[in-house]
């Protein structure tokens, strides 16, 4: 709470300020800690990516970092613009947003290009775009709207089933791409919005039981009767973290290598003497296993710093949940907080060998323009909620 104390003292009193340039930009109404955490993570991510991938594409050391930087800048601009918009408008647009979400993740089946056996992204001129990443934010915005809207309609049980269906439909579409990781994020978002939206504990207990049964069916019973729901590699990834092996063709190998790389970093890191993440021992090091790169290069100090920034991000998001001027903001902020927390925990946990491999990127750090853009926009929405709360306290509104 030290930080909070400092912010309180440092924050300018909006009432006393003459409208200066900062005032006109709306900066005093934003959450500086949230902004700095996001900015710090993006900067650190681009920096790490630059170091880790400079030899990946022969003759083009900046191949990955340039693309990532362009998306980061786009994302930061988008974040600012979203912050200046009253997020409450999204509540009115919920049906449109939801439709757009479902259509865009479906269009991938038609127009998307395949990467490693799954269709996830559009190949637009100059860049590719993965709609399911932006879909995370869209799902939060739409679902929160449905929850607010339907709060008075139907019985509690009907509402719960409705929310579940609304959330799980896009999750199912993404799962079929197939993209198990993102689908799981959608599920987490759905449950979080429902949770903050006040769905009963008993309902959650039932959902929980259903989930356990589903996992049992998917992982144990379905393959046993010869009707597997998951692809073989997905199944392997999900279960192999429990028994890693040395076989490179084995999914457990990746995880073991990531663990070795992180352990190799020690307290202060190996810097340019990093070997595991530099010499291809760790697969997908610029995407899913970027945290292993950080762990090996910058050691415990660097990795803990990154984790701290994420903790700060999630904490500020939860704080905004409580600050919001309306219930819609509360639900949206809750959904975004859950989205960030879930992705960070699953991805870092996967790098540390305590979570299965699900292909969930590390927000703001993993290479992937769509993911960085979507996450920065989500932060922009959080800023918007914060700003509206501040302005409403002051009795003024954004233009």
């Amino acid at each position: 709470m030290m930080y909070a104390t400092r912010t309180r003292r440092a924050r300018p009193e909006p009432f006393a300020l003459r409208p200066g340039i900062a005032e006109r930009l709306g900066l005093p109404y934003m959450d500086p800690a949230l902004g700095l955490a996001a900015l710090g993570l993006v900067a650190f991510g681009v920096f790490t990516l630059g170091q880790a991938t400079q030899h990946d594409v022969p003759g083009s050391p900046g191949y990955f970092v340039d693309r990532q930087a362009i998306y980061a800048i786009l994302g930061l601009v988008g974040m600012y613009l979203l912050a200046r918009i009253d997020y409450s408008r999204f509540r009115e647009l919920r049906v449109g947003i939801y439709t757009f979400l479902c259509v865009s993740v479906s269009l991938v089946f038609v127009f998307g290009f395949a990467a490693r056996g799954s269709r996830r992204a559009f190949d637009l001129p100059f860049f590719s775009f993965q709609p399911s990443e932006l879909g995370k934010l869209l799902l939060v915005l739409a679902l929160a709207g449905f929850v607010i809207d339907g709060a008075r309609r139907g019985s509690a049980r009907q509402r719960t089933v409705r929310y579940l269906c609304l959330g799980l439909a896009p999750a199912a579409l993404v799962f079929l791409q197939p993209d198990l990781g993102t689908a799981l994020v959608y599920v987490a978002i759905t449950l979080a919005v429902m949770y903050v939206g006040g769905v009963r504990w008993t309902h959650f207990a039932v959902i929980g039981a259903a989930l356990v049964a589903l996992v049992a069916i998917v992982l144990v019973i379905a393959p046993a009767v010869g009707a597997p729901v998951l692809k073989e590699y997905q199944q392997q990834r999900l279960t192999s973290f429990a028994n890693p092996s040395g076989d490179p063709s084995d999914a457990g190998y990746q995880q073991n290598q990531a663990k070795i790389a992180i352990g190799h970093g020690g307290t202060t890191g190996q810097g340019d003497r990093a070997t595991q993440t530099r010499l291809d021992f760790v697969p997908e090091r610029h995407t899913d296993f970027i945290f292993a790169v950080i762990g090996e290069r910058y050691g415990f100090l660097g990795a803990a710093f990154v984790l701290s920034l994420y903790a700060l991000l999630v904490w500020r998001a939860l704080r905004i949940v409580t600050l919001s001027k309306n219930s819609y903001g509360t639900l949206v902020a809750g959904g975004i907080a859950a989205m960030l927390l879930f992705q960070v925990f699953v991805n870092v946990g996967m790098n540390l060998g305590i979570m299965p491999i699900t292909g969930i990127p590390l927000p703001l750090l993993s290479y992937g323009g769509s993911s960085v853009l979507a996450t920065l926009l989500a932060v922009g929405v959080l800023q918007s909620i914060h700003m509206q709360a501040r302005l409403s306290q002051k009795g003024r509104f954004a233009w």
Partner: protein, 623 residues
């Protein structure tokens, strides 16, 4: 806990506040788990993972050392090395999945213009010899294959092109039986103490001189530790440390290439299986040692084709790998008479002046032993008997000594039927028939009769059960010629390091000393000299015109189921011989017919002098 007094948020119900509090607690717990796990991996167990990471990124490569060169006594190169690009497969690094494995081997077979079954068989056979060692599929592959494999390394895991040292034989088949060959160490050999520290895939001398002097020739492999990436490919500037390979030391042989070439050419000219030995009578240094038919040692470098294997190993008659000079088992014919003569003189059976009447045959117990060719030489003393090679004279000596054991005693002393101490593998002991030997066999029921005078009469002329070879005969002649020193025959002379410094000289001690009267040797050598170079001598037709005085004895051995085997053993120069040459030619007829001319060729090469016209291979009296 989320609200501050100065902020006015929406009215939050207590229920929502509780839910957010729980949410926060869960977030806190999850981050705590991540922090703790991170701390556990990096701070608590950092050491362990540093070790694992180093193990991950470094590989040790053995860098094979070139074997030492082998030179003749004048420094001419007999065996050197060349580098060759060998296509190797490491079976342990092939895909474990049978389908992928098969697909890769199929691609590989296509690449080297072979077939899948052949590649598989090669791998299987090599693995039987040395499990776990890389299998060489093809030698001397071109650079294009190297580039192709480098570009497609991911399609050929476990396949590599290695720069290896291969033995080079500038003189082709020359001295093949002496040189032997190198080959990959087998699983059994790995367990032997002599090969401690070697690993599967390392090469050692497998036969001949390469085998005997392996520890000097072998050198020691270097170790290269390099940093590799996850595919096991060395990274740029990734060399971490290295120990340079130490080349093997050079070995100088006592072989004289001129003598060796002459001997092999002499045998090859006759086109019959046979062997020859030329030895320094005082030191036991072998100047030449050869056998016909021979083989090309370069062909013994795997991978062999099936046809080559058949030619080298399977033909029981020609048996080109057999060194007939040291492992032949033959009766020696009349060349044995030198031993009979010495035994008779030293046992007091006769004196140099004792006359024995040669009436053309000797009848003992109803069995008649006749001179070859039906000749009768009348009354003879020892020297003339040797000159004309009177069988009846020596039959009589055999009869006189038939149950005294004197003949066997002296033959044994001179090295017949016993190991010689030669520094090459594969030498045969042979067999010296004795009274006890036959009587024991008789008691065991393995032969139909006990020892009789006839056995000894046969032995006295190098017939019957006797089994010997040119090397043993050369040793026996050398012993008589040098005054009683039974030398240790050897090929290895000295070991030099790469800079030419002498590291070790080989001068093996004589096996033993044999004491006999100097007069006995003089009389015998005089008889042999007359046999070679006095008119009427058995090999006068061959050696009569040779400008160097020699003492030589023909032999014509009868072998059951074979035509007569031709023998010749010659000491030169007479009367103080420096060298002895023994030649045998299977089915070569009379001694003077083929073995003596072959021996003459060798002596001509040794002395650098040629025989004048008087003699020729056409002559030849029964030996």
């Amino acid at each position: 806990m989320y609200r501050r007094s100065d902020e006015l948020g929406p009215e939050m119900s207590n229920r929502l506040a509780l839910r957010i509090a729980i949410f926060g607690s869960v977030a806190l717990a999850l981050f705590a788990v991540l922090f703790f796990r991170l701390w556990f991996l990096q701070v608590l167990n950092g050491e362990k993972y540093v070790a694992e990471a180093n193990n991950n990124r470094t590989r040790e490569f053995r860098v094979s050392a070139p074997r030492g060169e082998i030179l003749d006594r004048n420094g001419r190169i007999l065996v050197s090395n060349r580098t060759s690009l060998a296509l190797q497969v490491n079976p342990r690094k092939l895909p474990a999945n049978p389908r992928q494995r098969r697909a890769e081997l199929e691609r590989l077979a296509e690449l080297i213009h072979s077939s899948l079954p052949r590649v598989r068989r090669t791998i299987r056979e090599e693995q039987k010899v040395a499990a776990g060692a890389p299998v060489t599929l093809r030698r001397d592959v071109g650079n294009y294959l190297v580039y192709y494999l480098q570009e497609n390394q991911n399609r050929f895991p476990g396949v590599s092109v290695e720069r290896v040292f291969v033995r080079r034989y500038p003189h082709g088949t020359l001295a093949a039986h002496i040189l032997g060959n190198e080959g990959e160490i087998s699983e059994e050999q790995l367990k032997e103490p002599a090969y401690r520290g070697l690993e599967p895939g390392d090469k050692i001398g497998q036969d001949g001189i390469e085998y005997t002097y392996d520890r000097y020739l072998r050198g020691s492999p270097g170790i290269k530790r390099v940093q590799v990436n996850a595919l096991g490919q060395p990274t740029r500037n990734g060399q971490l440390s290295s120990r340079a390979p130490v080349p093997g030391d050079n070995l100088k042989l006592s072989i004289d290439t001129r003598v060796q070439e002459a001997g092999e050419a002499a045998l090859a000219a006759r086109g019959l299986p046979g062997g020859f030995v030329t030895m320094d009578v005082r030191s036991g240094e072998l100047l030449g040692l050869g056998s016909f038919p021979t083989f090309d040692p370069a062909e013994l470098t795997p991978p062999l084709t099936q046809a080559q294997v058949n030619e080298l190993y399977r033909d029981p008659v020609l048996a080109p790998l057999t060194d007939r000079a040291i492992s032949g088992l033959y009766p020696t014919g009349s060349t044995f008479k030198l031993i009979t003569a010495l035994a008779a003189l030293e046992s007091g059976t006769i004196t140099p002046g004792t006359s024995i009447f040669d009436g053309g045959s000797l009848t003992v117990g109803g069995e008649s032993f006749q001179n070859a060719g039906g000749a009768a030489y009348g009354s003879l003393t020892l020297a003339p008997a040797l000159q004309v090679s009177s069988d009846v004279f020596f039959y009589t000596l055999g009869l006189d000594m038939w149950d005294t054991g004197d003949l066997q005693h002296w033959a044994h002393k001179l090295g017949i039927g016993r190991p010689s101490g030669l520094d090459l593998p594969g030498a045969a002991e042979g067999l010296l028939p004795t009274q006890k030997w036959r009587n024991d066999l008789y008691k065991a029921g393995e032969t139909e009769r006990p020892w009789s005078a006839g056995d000894n009469i046969q032995l006295a002329t190098g017939q019957g059960d006797l089994q010997s070879n040119p090397l043993q005969m050369a040793i026996a002649y050398a012993t008589v010629a040098n005054g009683g020193t039974v030398v240790t025959p050897h090929v290895g002379l000295q070991v030099d390091d790469a800079a030419g410094r002498v590291l070790r000289e080989f001068d093996p001690k004589p096996r033993r000393q044999v004491r006999f009267k100097a007069e006995s040797a003089e009389v015998i050598l005089a008889g042999l000299h007359a046999a070679a170079q006095a008119p009427g001598g058995t090999s006068y037709a061959v050696f009569g015109g040779f400008p160097v005085d020699v003492a030589g004895k023909t032999g014509t051995a009868q072998r059951v189921g074979h035509a007569d085997q031709s023998w010749y053993v010659v000491l030169a120069p007479y009367p103080n011989p420096r060298i002895v040459t023994a030649v045998t030619i299977e089915e070569g007829g009379f001694g003077a017919e083929s073995a003596a001319p072959a021996a003459l060729q060798i002596l001509e090469a040794y002395f650098g002098k040629h025989s004048s016209g008087e003699s020729g291979p056409n002559g030849g009296s029964p030996g």
